[in-house]
């Protein structure tokens, strides 16, 4: 099951030696919560898997996520799985800074080892982190791309935001990234609105990698794509995750995506984490009734 820092400390003190030094998590989240509506303590009671709802019977508030713990290390991909409304995308948006969390700590450490409490940063500082440290690939390309701007221009966006002021260098970096994500270079000057769904996602991925982020957040990156197109995008992401040292969080309701991309996974239901484990363990030996139900449904 997922271990808290406390548990990890206990583990470290146990007589058994740890095979690897305790990892420097890129992101360590403790007690993350997001409530829409009345954010008082009163809203929590009566919500969660044991009550079968995320809506507070006391206040009517929606407890979209509560008590969520997760860690992700450099070079590792963590899956977050659950049905729509389980809170998985809420968790992602809170980490991305698209919306403020109601509760919890988020400790972020970049490639260079400098550490920030994401939950304590101002909206401005959070946006700045999104330029170079934390990237998101959204299910809806319209959220991640400017549709009437060319593929190259979309990739140029985070580069110029990071202070790139040399046209030639911006252009060659954009070319390199689009090549890497298998976008035909002949189309790099075409507005992305003319692109197919799969190609838009490839441009979004290229953009997300522009400034070598430490943390990559993927929100249902292949949902809505045709199966064969989705497979191609998944292949690409798997390769990129293997080749870079980025830490990734993959949110999906689709086990095949989670299986292809992640090594560990957490399962969410009604805003709570009900199970955490190695991805193959969760698929082969799910413990929680809800996980078993999800796996059974996925296995058809």
């Amino acid at each position: 099951m997922s271990l808290t820092l406390h548990e990890r400390a206990q583990y470290a003190g146990a007589p058994l030696a740890s095979p690897a030094p305790a990892p420097a998590w890129t992101l360590s989240v403790r007690g993350l919560g997001k409530i829409y509506g009345d954010t008082s303590e009163e809203s929590i009671a009566g919500t969660g898997p044991e009550f079968g709802t995320a809506v507070s019977p006391n206040t009517g508030a929606i407890v979209a996520a509560w008590g969520v713990d997760l860690d992700v290390a450099p070079g590792e991909a963590l899956g977050v799985i659950g049905e729509s409304g389980s809170g998985k995308s809420t968790v992602l948006r809170c980490i991305a800074g698209d919306e403020p969390a109601t509760a919890g700590e988020m400790l972020f450490t970049d490639h260079g080892g400098s550490t920030e409490r994401l939950d304590q940063l101002s909206p401005t500082e959070r946006r700045r982190m999104r330029i170079s440290d934390i990237s998101v690939v959204y299910q809806d390309p319209a959220l991640g791309l400017t549709m009437d701007v060319s593929a190259g221009g979309n990739v140029a966006d985070p580069l110029t935001a990071a202070g790139w002021r040399n046209f030639g260098r911006i252009r060659s970096r954009a070319t390199e990234l689009l090549q890497r994500t298998e976008v035909p270079i002949a189309r790099m000057d075409h507005p992305v609105k003319a692109f197919s769904g799969g190609m838009k996602q490839r441009v979004q991925i290229a953009k997300s990698l522009a400034n070598d982020p430490s943390l990559l957040l993927l929100d249902e990156p292949t949902t809505g794509l045709d199966a064969s197109v989705a497979a191609g995008v998944l292949d690409l992401m798997r390769g990129l995750l293997e080749e870079t040292n980025v830490a990734a969080i993959v949110v999906s309701h689709d086990f095949s995506v989670i299986e292809m991309l992640t090594t560990r996974v957490i399962v969410m239901q009604h805003g709570r984490v009900v199970e955490a484990g190695l991805t193959d363990q969760l698929l082969e030996d799910p413990q929680h009734p809800y996980s078993q139900q999800l796996v059974a449904a996925a296995r058809g």
């Binding site: 190259g152 140029a156 110029t160 935001a161 002021r165 040399n166």
Partner: protein
């Protein structure tokens, strides 16, 4: 001494001009409000300060913002020069000048060097501005981010955070599509290393004049109710990539047919035979630099008709 015909001509000109300009179009409290906004604008160079733009006897978008700024700044001892696209004699410039003179009781002037306040639509005079002068530019669209992002909230956020990435992307797109930055007028500039401004639709040719200017530059948009300023000796940099230098309009071999200048902003007039005649946009400057003009001492004695 006046002949009958001269008297008649004078009267018909007066009649043509219509009634005398309306007086007291701008009350002292409103002027003070504009001056307060202006003080903020000068204190925070390039920052667009909202102000309570009043109704003026000119349509919004026809210099109502510039008019309010000029009336708030000018005193009876000052001289005002008003130009429209470099021309003092344009109908719009003439009307605005009459309004200003009629209300402020100030003098009117066409010679750049002698004016205290110069209100202008879309040009900066050729004659370098001096310490103590104020240039008031009429601004139709003060927001440089309009057309880059739609939401005004987002525009404000981007200014607040100095986040101009989308503006750079637009320049990138421009170069990709057109090979050059195609902004011919209203070229986005970074003021004092902080705020990006729309310098009003002055040609690129005039943009370098904003940098380290001796004079105070006031930019006022009446319709949009925003006022901003470039105080004297402020850094103004046109946004440009390191490897794509900023260039100003220049046509090789073009020179003004009247004064012969080839280093001023020239307007091409197509001729029937397919050639182009070039003339100075700044008419006052041109008239003072003609070889046959007495005021141009350097060319005295070189008259050739």
């Amino acid at each position: 001494m006046t002949t009958l015909s001269a008297e008649l001509t004078e009267r018909s000109v007066e009649q043509l001009a219509g009634d005398a300009a309306p007086r007291d179009i701008f009350d002292e409290l409103s002027k003070r409000a504009v001056r307060r906004a202006l003080l903020t604008a000068i204190a925070v160079p390039g920052y667009q300060v909202p102000f309570s733009s009043r109704e003026m006897p000119v349509a919004r978008g026809w210099g109502s913002g510039g008019l309010q700024a000029t009336l708030a700044l000018i005193g009876a001892d000052d001289n005002v020069k008003v130009i429209d696209q470099g021309e003092d004699a344009g109908v719009n410039a003439t009307n605005l000048r009459r309004l200003i003179v009629g209300n402020a009781g100030c003098g009117e002037e066409t010679e750049t060097g002698l004016a205290d306040v110069i209100q202008s639509r879309h040009r900066i005079p050729e004659e370098p501005l001096k310490d103590g002068q104020t240039l008031v530019l009429q601004v139709p669209v003060p927001e440089p981010l309009r057309g880059v992002v739609g939401s005004m909230d987002e525009q404000r956020r981007m200014h607040a955070e100095g986040d101009y990435a989308k503006m750079w992307v637009r320049l990138y797109e421009d170069i990709v599509r057109n090979g050059v930055v195609s902004h011919s007028a209203d070229y986005p500039c970074l003021v004092n290393g902080r705020y990006v401004i729309a310098p009003s639709p002055i040609p690129r040719f005039d943009v370098p004049k904003l940098n380290d200017s001796e004079a105070l530059v006031v930019l006022s948009a009446g319709r949009e109710k925003r006022i901003y300023a470039i105080p004297p000796h402020t850094r103004v940099e046109p946004l440009t990539f390191e490897d794509v230098p900023f260039t100003v309009e220049h046509t090789e071999g073009a020179a003004c047919v009247f004064c012969g200048s080839d280093d001023t902003y020239l307007i091409g007039v197509p001729e029937e035979d397919g050639t182009t005649r070039w003339v100075c946009s700044d008419t006052d400057w041109c008239s003072r630099h003609r070889p046959d003009d007495d005021t141009e001492t350097e060319t005295e004695g070189e008259v050739s008709r």
